[in-house]
Each structure stands twice: as C-alpha cells, then as structure tokens.
C-alpha cells in the first residue's frame, strides 16, 4: 500500500506543477492577443462617445492598464487563497459561474462518457471476434465514418431530424423558456439533455472500439487462447475469463484519456444546442476576452484531464496483477 501512496503523491505533485504551467500558458496566450477587450465588448462607436474618464474606468475594469506580470501574480495569489476572481462578463465570482455551468455539463458528459465507453468496448469485442465478417465490416465502417464527422455537424443533423422535423425534442437550452425555476421538473431537464448527450455518445465510440478490436484480434491469436480451445473451453468462458481482462486494460487507458475529447466535444455540442454548460461559457469567455473566466475554465478542465490520467494509472494496478506485483517489488 505504501508504494501506491508514494506513487500517487508523486503524480499529484507533478499534476500541480502542470496545472501551474497550464495557467501560465493560458494567461500568456490570452495576454498576447491583439484583440482589445474594450473594442470587442463595448464597441468602437460607444467608445468614441465616451469621456476620457469613462474609458479609463473601463480600462481598469477589463484590466488592460495593469502590467501583465502583476496581473498574473495577483490572479495566482487569489487562487492560492481559493479565490478564482470575478468574471468580467457575468459579473459573478468565477468559481460560482464554473460551479453552475459544470453542474449542468457534468451529467451530460458523464452519461456520454460511460455510455460511449461501454458501447465502444462491446462493439470492439464484437468486431474482433468476427474479424473479416459482416459485423466487423459494419462496425469498422461506422467507426471510420463517425471519426471523420465533425461533432457539431452531427449535432446539427440530429437537431434537424428530431427537433425540427419530428418535433420530439426541444431546439435548445437546458430548461423550457419562460418557466419559473421552481416549476421545472426533472423530466424537462432530461428531455433537454437527451440530444446533446446522444451526440456526444455516438462520437465517443469510434476510438475505443477500433483499439479494442485490434487488441481482441491479438488476444484471439495468442497461444493461451489456442490452448484454452484445445482444452475444450466454450466460447463464452474464453471471452469471459481470458479476453475481457486483457482487453480492459488498454480500454481503461483510452477511456480516461478521452476525457479531454469529451470536454472538447461538449464545447461544440453545447454551442449547437445552446445548452448553458461549461463549454458554452468557455466560448463566450473566449469571444469576449473574459480573462479570469477563461483562465478558470482552462485550469478546471485541465485538472479534470490530469485527474483522469491519474485515475487510469491507479486503476492499472487493480486490473492487472502483473503491474501490482511489479510495483511492490521495487
């Protein structure tokens, strides 16, 4: 147990350093931007009609008159005390905005993540077992098509079919328009989240299915499967006892590595369905040069990605006894 704690501790320190790097990189990138937040948010015409004093006030509000080093250090100081600053566009604490947005995005992403993982594993195993036959060709064709399809276009298609033509699902937003927040039922929320979640799940399948298929073919060609067959083991028991664990290891890596993809996908999907989640907030913050919010979202999503990698590293030991023993011997 001790070595696993040490392992996790080392990883956590590395993660913290990487997060620091991420925040610095994001800050430098936004800071280097030639786009003037005053021009984009207030507009040239409005600026022209303002007095010098008003413009100075605006500059102070958007932070364009503070030197970059001081700006970053004060942001970093705030973070260390648990204060992520105030969003310039939403005029609310960044932590609060992210909290609200993440709450509505989380279920969307979690559902899509779990569903695409399970479906991808099953499809990959099915394809690998039927190598060269029609189920394999079908699954491979599906994966090729879906990985060549832009997520947002798929979202648009589903929107046209289910919302505009069939009218089954609403056009957008996470709750019905013009209703009191108290009277919104759980069913309403679900109905508004179905299409975005479906889009994300459909696209998430391809990568994991293709890799599982390759691995499955390797395993089925191995000597131990040949021996198991020679012993007369049934197909089902071979699948259950020999294939599943071996296939699970790379699948877990891929699945946790796909967190980054799912967040990226949710940015696009939320934009199409105007679903008020974290991704949409990121786009708004980016277009409006809202530095504190953009930094906050980048750091929080990066933490999620690193957390996923850490979880995968820790899970290896649980799934693969060889890794567990190898680590304890050191």
């Amino acid at each position: 147990m001790k070595h696993r704690l040490q392992f996790a501790g080392k990883k956590l320190i590395r993660m913290a350093l990487l997060l620091l790097g991420v925040s610095l990189a994001a800050f430098l990138l936004v800071n280097a931007s030639p786009l003037d937040p005053l021009q984009t948010n207030v507009g040239q015409a409005a600026l022209g009609s303002m007095s010098q004093e008003q413009i100075e006030n605006l500059k102070a509000y958007w932070g364009t008159d503070t030197p970059p080093v001081q700006r970053y250090l004060s942001w970093l100081g705030g973070i260390l005390q648990g204060d992520m600053g105030t969003s310039l566009l939403y005029r609310q604490p960044v932590a609060q905005v992210i909290g609200q947005r993440l709450a509505s995005s989380f279920w969307l992403m979690a559902f899509a993540w779990v569903l695409s993982g399970i479906l991808g594993l099953l499809l990959g195993m099915a394809a690998g077992m039927n190598r060269g036959k029609w189920p394999d060709k079908l699954i491979r064709g599906y994966c090729l098509t879906i990985s060549s399809t832009p997520v947002f276009w798929l979202a648009l298609l589903l929107l046209i079919i289910f919302s505009v033509w069939l009218g089954i699902f609403p056009i957008g937003l996470s709750v019905p328009i013009g209703m009191e927040s108290g009277s919104i039922t759980f069913a309403d929320r679900i109905q508004h989240a179905v299409l975005p979640a479906l889009t994300l799940s459909i696209t998430g399948v391809a990568n994991i299915a293709l890799h599982t298929r390759e691995k499955m073919i390797d395993i089925l060609d191995s000597d131990y499967i040949l021996f198991a067959r020679a012993r007369g083991e049934s197909n089902r028991s071979i699948l259950w006892r020999h294939c599943l664990r071996n296939v699970a290891l790379p699948a877990i890596t891929l699945q946790f590595a796909s967190i980054s993809e799912i967040i990226g996908g949710s940015v696009l999907v939320e934009q199409v369905f105007s679903y008020p989640g974290l991704g949409q907030a990121a786009v708004t913050a980016g277009l409006g040069s809202d530095l504190p919010l953009l930094l906050g979202i980048t750091v929080v999503t990066a933490a999620m990605v690193f957390g996923g990698n850490l979880a995968a590293d820790l899970l290896y030991g649980a799934v693969d006894p060889k890794i567990r023993k190898g680590a304890s011997r050191k």
């Binding site: 991420v22 298609l157 980054s260």
Partner: protein, 275 residues
Amino acid sequence: MNHHWNNRRSAVFLVCITGLLLAAVTAAGIILSGQAMETDFTQKNLTPSLSHLFGTDWMGRDMLSRTLTGLSMSIRIGALTAAVSSILALILGTAAATLGRKVDAVISWCIDLCMGIPHILLVMLISLACGKGFLGVVAGVSLSHWPSLARVIRSEVLQLRQAPYIQAAEKLGVSRLNIAKRHILIHLLPQFLTGLILQFPHAVLHEASITFLGFGLSPEQPAIGVILSESMRYLTTGKWWLALFPGLALVLVVILFAITGEHLRRLLNPANVHQ
C-alpha cells in the same frame, strides 16, 4: 498466385484515385471562389434543384460553389497545418530522445502540458493569441497537434539508439550526424509520413470546428465552419439543405483523407512489402 501482389497494386491505385479527387476539389474550389461570393436576390432560398445542386442561401449565393470553395480552403489549411505540426513533432521528438535528460524532461513536460488542456480549448487560446483569422487557425491547429506524434517519434528514436547496428556504428567511430542521417532519419521516414498523413483529417476537422465557434476564419470567407454556423439561424425555418450538403461534403473529404492515409501507411510499412 499473384493475389498478394495485387493487394499492394490496388492500394497504389486507390491512393492515386483519392489523391486526384482531392486535388480536383481543391482546384474546383479555387476556380469557383469568385462565383461563391456572387449574390442574386432573385434566386434566394431555393431548394436543391438541377441548376443549383446544393440549393441557394438567403442572399441567393450558390451553395455548391460555396461548399467547394470552403472545402478547398479546408484542404489547403489542412495540408499546411499537418506539415508544420509533423515537422515540429519530428524535431522535438528527436531532440527529446538524443539531447540528454534535461532536454528530454523539458520536452516531455511540454507534451504533457499540451495534452492536458482540452484540444479545442488549446486551439481557441492559440487562435486568440494570434488575433483569430487565417493566421489564428493555422497557428492554433499546427501548434496543438504535435504532441502525440512527438511522443511516438521520441520512443521510436530511444528504441533505435539501443539497436545493435547503431551501437556498432557508434563503436566504429561513425559521427553522430552521420548516424542520425544514415540510420535514424531513414528509419523514421515511414513513421513520419504516416503521422503526417493521419494528421490531415484531424487538422481539417479542427479547422472547421474552430471556425464554427467563431475563433477561426472571418465570416466573410466561405469556409465550411462559417457556412454551418450561418445555417444554424435558418434551421428552424426548415432550410435543411444549408447544413446537410456542406457538412456531408466535408465528411466525404475527411473520409477520403483517412482512407488514403490508411493505404499509404500499409504501403510504407516495410513489414508489409510481401503482401
């Protein structure tokens, strides 16, 4: 039985066909770029017909020529960004594997850093730093795609350096530069070319996505991302063709790239020569 020989030959044939097709789309887009901007208000919002295969939009612009121009732009940006990011990956991957532990640590850290930020967010941030537009897209896509290929190349070079023939060459007193040129780079070439071609589809998709979100090419340009984000405003009024055909065309182009890449990978892999 020359069945196996045919396998390779048909791959070459297929690669040529898809290559020609992509070149034709690129050329058609450049030729039609003038027509794509022409507005004709007597012809607006037409459903697809023989004279306008993809229909027309609310300004009476022909969607087919707009789509082709957009695709052509996507392909050219894809080629440029894939090339830049692969060369970056080659340089950084080799540097990490050959220039000592400190350089390796720094480059590996950068790789982890870039892979930690969700891809779309990273492209958004880089594009913002370059002031959006054409430069923003190109910088964003090419500066965010190198890490995974760099990692592959790094481990490949590390492995190669342990290979007996390279160690023997070192002991024989062959200079480092010569080893790099005659043994390592030649060996990396197939890996590198495959990586380059497989970057294409990603690059094209990310270009379209980032433009769709409003961080890429400017709205006046007929890019696929722009066409699709404009179409969103007209979906509820039943103008499905504005979104369907341009998107479908993009999917087809990306699939063509993916198939070409897959076949080229097999052709370039020395282990597959006997097939």
